[in-house]
Subunit: 162 residues, 2 copies
Amino acid sequence: MDPDGTLAFASHDHAACRDGALAHAEAVAEAKGLRLTPVRRRALEILLESHQALGAYDVLDRLAEEGFGRQPPVAYRALEFLVEHGFAHRIRRLNAFAACMHPGEAHVPVFLICSACNGLAEAPGAAVAASLRQAAGPLGFRVERMSIEAVGLCPACQGGSE
Amino acid sequence: MDPDGTLAFASHDHAACRDGALAHAEAVAEAKGLRLTPVRRRALEILLESHQALGAYDVLDRLAEEGFGRQPPVAYRALEFLVEHGFAHRIRRLNAFAACMHPGEAHVPVFLICSACNGLAEAPGAAVAASLRQAAGPLGFRVERMSIEAVGLCPACQGGSE
DNA sequence: TCTTGACTAGTTATCTTATAACATATTCCT
DNA sequence: AGGAATATGTTATAAGATAACTAGTCAAGA
Ligand SMILES: [Zn+2]
Ligand SMILES: [Zn+2]
Ligand SMILES: [Zn+2]
Ligand SMILES: [Zn+2]
């Protein structure tokens, strides 16, 4: 769907991009017997609207506007479900959440965060993960989860004035 | 001082470890003309007491007990100074801060966080950083800062019961 | 059918983390 | 000494996250 992560920073047919990711997620949920309930589904759709990370309260506002509950746990629970099952990722550096571009596929994402436009891309991180494990090995540390995030400038924002 | 990051998870003379790091930081501050004032110095000492990350409010409590201000900005400002000048690191995953084990040396730290004992080690991340840049390259993304953190089990916590 | 248990979604209340804005004091340089 | 820059302190508030409880849904089994 976006195997190399190049989509987010390139101009593309985002309606198709969004719909594809959603359909993909639905198929995965179906296959795994997970209940993609209305709030959860809507939360995912909201995250899929842009290639940016959204704070839990941003998502909550949107959900509340649409008739779902207006209290923080509503958003946090939906997001927790999405993250737990691989439909979304949590971006620690931003205290925010973003839809996963590869739901259902095992992958270690590398997040590239543009400090100018807030764009977020999910690059393939297998090699980075391997080298992280190599770094941890000599210390006898057993890696279970990792977060790999970079802040910088996306191609579009590297232009003139910075 | 701990070039390979093995110290944190191994039993060692921590008094010497702490004093060495502090002395090193002082030398760096001196050389760079930075003012390691009493609050800042004390905040660093507090971080150096253990190989764990501390929340800003934990540091604040300690500072307040010792006669410094009791309001959040007191801790946040001291910590911001330490991070900005490379005497400490911010651990995003934990919303916490830890003393840097290599102040004054350019380095990309890889943080290894033990989920059982909260121990924190700072492994050398040059290779990981390089592979991250390689992952970002094809997207045309210019990396400026990165955070690389892993959660797992340190050698001591891999024992029997988990 | 009715009950029980698992799960979902809603609420109130509270906690933790972080920053804005302003006042005072200190330090550094001329 | 005077003035600029830096540092420390305050109050108040914003932003992010969770605990604890209540109630609705739904399917399996008595
Ligand atoms: Zn898109
Ligand atoms: Zn993903
Ligand atoms: Zn030590
Ligand atoms: Zn360091």
